[in-house]
Amino acid sequence: MEYFTYIDSPFNIREDIKIAHRNYWKALAAPGSWWTGEQRISIAQEVRNATACGFCEERKKALSPYAVTGEHEHSTAELLSTEAIDAIHRVVTDQDRITQAYIDSNEQHGLSPEAYVELVGVVVTVFSIDEFHRGLGLKAELLPEPTEGVCSKYRPKQAARGIGFVPMIPADGATGAEADLWPAGISANVLRALSLVPNAFREWYQVSKAQYLSLEGMGNFVKQDDRAINRMQMELVAGRVSAINECFY
């Protein structure tokens, strides 16, 4: 089945966006580093459940996320732990109240930092593709069928604790098998954030290049030729979305 054809879209969708979304769906269906293809698709399904979860809505209104108790509206308990389901819902609906203590507690209950990072990668990439559709009034794409296979359990040796809640590859650590992650000497914390699972970074970045800009394109503060909006217009949209999400970064 071919995904993201956009044949029902009233708007012409740029070809690079279609390709990026299709490629991501292929990667989503395949086994990752710490989750099987079936689990990755369950994570994607749970992203969609989170957007309509009554418990998430109630928790978001509470002064503290721990002030309310209840159960998420979920459908993936056969494949995902309670901690994984909660983490998915948190990242979608209450991300600005995630703390080191929350991640440490999840680790004590079996959700390792590596698995958490891959989970975040799937959540945010699926969510952004779904948000693109919602923004244009289009239906969310059908989730793909999982591909059989085992997880690689790959962890880059140079990843270490330092900034943030999880280990990351240092800015000068894009070497060896990770040499493609970012150009030597050019990194940013947001690029490093999911680098504990290098493919999680690679996957979201390919989508980001189409939806926004490549790292190289970010150096152009005027207008990229293949975009209909200039950089100021892009940054207005980016800034307003970030402000509503109360993102300091």
Partner: protein, 129 residues
């Protein structure tokens, strides 16, 4: 980035459009379709689907489908980026850069809870909220 882009193109802008100020976003302030783009971004991020339908149509009417599609891409992208930053607790890269200091002050960004990820890492006193 908006400040840098405006400086590069020698455009006078009012950054309060980031905080939702309609006057600041109006086109005469320097960003073409500024108000319509701001409102589209706002209704998408607040997940208010009836506002989103209205603001999508308005943006489409004034700016056309290419602008709408690109704006949806950028908005969707930043729905992702904020979640990457907050779910991993990363601090701002260079807290001491003058331009970003000024922007943070102008937009009062220290009020956000996620500011603690940067302020505590930089050993800057966290404001009481």
């Amino acid at each position: 980035m908006l400040r840098v882009s405006a400086t590069t193109t020698e455009t006078n802008i009012d950054l309060q459009m980031i905080n939702g100020d309609k006057t600041a976003a109006a086109e005469q302030t320097g960003v073409e379709y500024g108000l319509e783009l701001m409102k589209f971004a706002e209704s998408l991020a607040t997940r208010n689907n009836s506002d989103l339908a209205r603001d999508r149509q308005t943006l489409l009417d004034v700016a056309g489908e290419k602008v709408l599609v690109d704006a949806a891409g950028v908005a969707a992208n930043f729905q992702r980026m904020v979640r990457i930053a907050d779910s991993t607790g990363i601090p701002v890269d260079n807290m001491n850069a003058k331009v970003s200091q000024l922007v943070r002050e102008e937009l009062d960004l220290n009020r956000f809870g996620s500011a603690q990820n940067t302020l505590s890492a930089a050993k800057v006193p966290v404001p009481e909220v």
